[in-house]
Amino acid sequence: MAADGQWLTFLVLILPFLGAAAAPFLTRVFGHNAAWVLALFPAFIFYHFTSFLGAVAEGETVAGGYAWIESLDVDFSWYLDGLSLTFALLISGIGTLIVLYSGGYLKGHPHLGRFFSFILMFMGSMQGLVVADSFLMLFVFWELTSITSFLLIGFDHSREASRRAALQALVVTGLGGLSLLAGLLVIANITGAASLSALLSEGEVLRAAPLYMAALLLVLGGAFTKSAQFPFHFWLPNAMEAPTPVSAYLHSATMVKAGVYLVMRLNPVMGETPAWETILPVFGGTTLIIGTLLALRQTDLKLMLAYTTVASLGLLVMLTGFGSEVAVEAAVLYLVAHSMFKGALFMVAGAIDHETGTRDITKVGGIGSAMPVTFIAAVLAALSMGGLGPFFGFLAKEEIYAGLGFASGWSILLTLTAVLGNALMFAIGFAVALKPFTGARVKMPKAPHEGPVLLWLGPLVLAVDGLLAALFSDLSHRFVSSPMASAVAGEPLSVSISVVPHIGLPLLLSALTIALGIACYLTLERGRAAMAATLTAIGWGPDRGFDQAVRGTVRLSAFVTGIVQGGRLDVYMTATFIALAAALFVPMVAFGELPTMPALPSLPFYELAVLAIGFIGLAAVLHARDRLTAIVSLGIQGFAVALIFMLLGAPDLSFTQFMVETLSVVILALVMTRLRLSPADHRPTGQKMLDISIAALCGAGLGLILLRVTQVPFDDTLSVFFAENARVIAHGRNIVNVIIVDFRGLDTLGEIAVVMIAGLAILALVRIRPGVAPLKAEKQPARAVEKVEA
């Protein structure tokens, strides 16, 4: 790829973030019409990515990027093949429509600018995720989508339900993200690849490795939480607390498909193993059935769609894991179809909510004449969702049945699962698209009328796209389906299905699906009541389990904190010094490194005198009746040590020791008066003996280790280097100072930062008012957390 194109792609990758920075200002100037300006950002991105369509359709891949940390093999690099290009086009294309829709949906909202900002940031993260090549970049963008999703779900942060849903989504997808990171590290360790493109040729090695299973489970942990597979599906319906544009964009069209993207991306590398072809269909199939059954129970339009989204994600995972080439093609077709029809239906649900004031399906009816354009969009989308011709959903469904086939018991089981799931989704899709619009007009909070162009443009364009993509299936297969299927399968595939029905098993199964679907649609109320009764009978679900897990964690940590941090300073000190003594003695004894006792050297009398002063100081400490005397006496011993440094030719050290001793005495004395301790020491004898032995052990340990160190041959490489170079390189004669400010300047910078932070912390501790008990202050946040979960 040419270098000049490279910077353009880089620009496109950061463009959404630039847009996010500009959004608040634009919104202040243009109000909700800023949407028209902001939509230009994703529109340009979409346009840029379409320029790669030709090359990718020829089977080429586009890679580019910049080296970031070469020594760690970390790059900022991207990789475009059929899979990532399709995703990038979906993200920017649907993103354009969503930005416009948001302008209409949140018109007049006081924080509209912030909303635009968040959604563009999300767009940038999601786009980075799908085009990322290096593992690190993939992970960073993966986490960024979780964080931006958190911000968007909790956008209406004054409501407790929003906050809970946001936190829940963050915790579930965040845990998944960590699992993914671990999985990527394992993969990188096995194969030595640090990027997806490098990994693609390492499939054999990875599948044969003993740690393959661990890598698989960890990666799937990330994918399944992100794509809301059972039993992690519960966060997705709760995320419907977000404003509808978010639900349409993140929680149906793009972010929740990140897990599917990952599974598809790794299919050529990790697929075709028994584990892969068991785990994926089992979890996917379960999610499909459970999602559709739970969707039956709902009356809220958005929740009905949310559960069918869960189901669709399950279907995608099931198809990707099935292992046949046609199943892969089916997954690709269904993914594209789903992004279009589900995005459109969500926006329709939002438009209904916006115009009537309610989105409860039992409280809306007969608004078709009032909102004709929305009605048309809804029906077109539902036709695609139900898999009826001539829509893109029809192609997907035919391919699903052709791909799963009827060859063995296993494939029959999965086919029946798909038929049942599709039939239920058919019923729910039409329930959303027909029930509010047809029948008798009922009383609603607001009198419905057609929304502004911003509200119906998005769903209409997406729904019509679903029709056009199917009618011109040659083109869509050539540029989108075939390259993407080839990337997922890891070998060239050519998708050829068209809207002309072929008599055969798939068509028969389609007919069966539609018949079942109509039956479900007609008995929807009865099905809903039955499901509600069943769920009430079961009572417990993963959603409640999540709360219990969080509460349990909080309780456990409170319990542990109570033990580890009892609040008694003397216990902390005792524990610290026992650990110090152990750290000094255990290795010395365990490795037989105790020093040999040297003969006592003959010292000149003045050195002996200084030593004697030190000992007198110590004796005075032990003998002192009150604490102040003890502190001052400790200073005597410190000064004696400083003198010894001086006598042995270390003036800098000695100088510092003097000052440190002086300040320690001053500050200790101040602390003592501040704490208003009783002047005398009231420890019981037992406690005193224990403290004395710990102190003696620490002292002896340090002394022995120093003795041992001096008995090892001295490596003077560093000293010689510093002595030779201090004058020459660093222009200084004082080696100690040159080391501090020049040779090891970075260390010093870190140290002074620590000094300052420690100063701030101590200042805060000193300033704590005696009236506020510290324990109480500690407990408050914990209680606040509990309240959020409740």
């Binding site: 800098d652 510092t656 000052m659 300040l663 101040l670 100072n737 910078l749 002074i752 100063g759 701030l760």
Partner: protein, 139 residues
């Protein structure tokens, strides 16, 4: 500690100590001394002044909050390390130049400013702790 002698002599003693601390700081590169030890001397000067005459006069004399002085020092150190980046050398590479002060050649370096930063961090942090403790004593 409100003895008359101590209170009378403390301001002079403190001024001398601060002066000495600057001397120690500046000679550090070639003779025993440097920013860390200089900072400790200055901090004890302020502590003594505070013990003798109370905290308020010290705070007035310092003008800035000691923690702000500390933060300023960290900034100076970090910035002095950044100079070398403009010379296309790694962060914290020492840069030297010679200037004329009253006809005498004096070596000036980024390393010196780094050491001055260290000095301010130490003075600021220790003085703010000491003053806060002294304040409680009198409260």
């Amino acid at each position: 500690m409100h003895t008359l002698i101590f209170r009378t002599i403390a301001p002079y003693l403190a001024s001398l100590m601060v002066l000495f601390s600057i001397f120690v700081l500046l000679r550090g590169h070639n003779e025993p001394g440097g920013g860390f030890i200089g900072g400790l001397i200055a901090a004890s000067a302020f502590a003594i002044y505070g013990i003798a005459c109370g905290v308020a006069p010290v705070r007035r004399a310092l003008y800035f909050h000691p923690m702000a002085i500390s933060g300023f020092g960290l900034l100076v150190s970090a910035l002095s390390g950044g100079v070398s980046l403009f010379m296309d050398m790694p962060f914290l590479t020492g840069q030297w130049t010679e200037i004329d002060v009253l006809g005498l050649p004096v070596d000036i370096s980024t390393v010196l400013f780094f050491d001055i930063g260290v000095y301010f961090v130490v003075v600021g942090s220790i003085t703010s702790i000491a003053l806060a403790l002294e304040e409680r004593e009198h409260a």
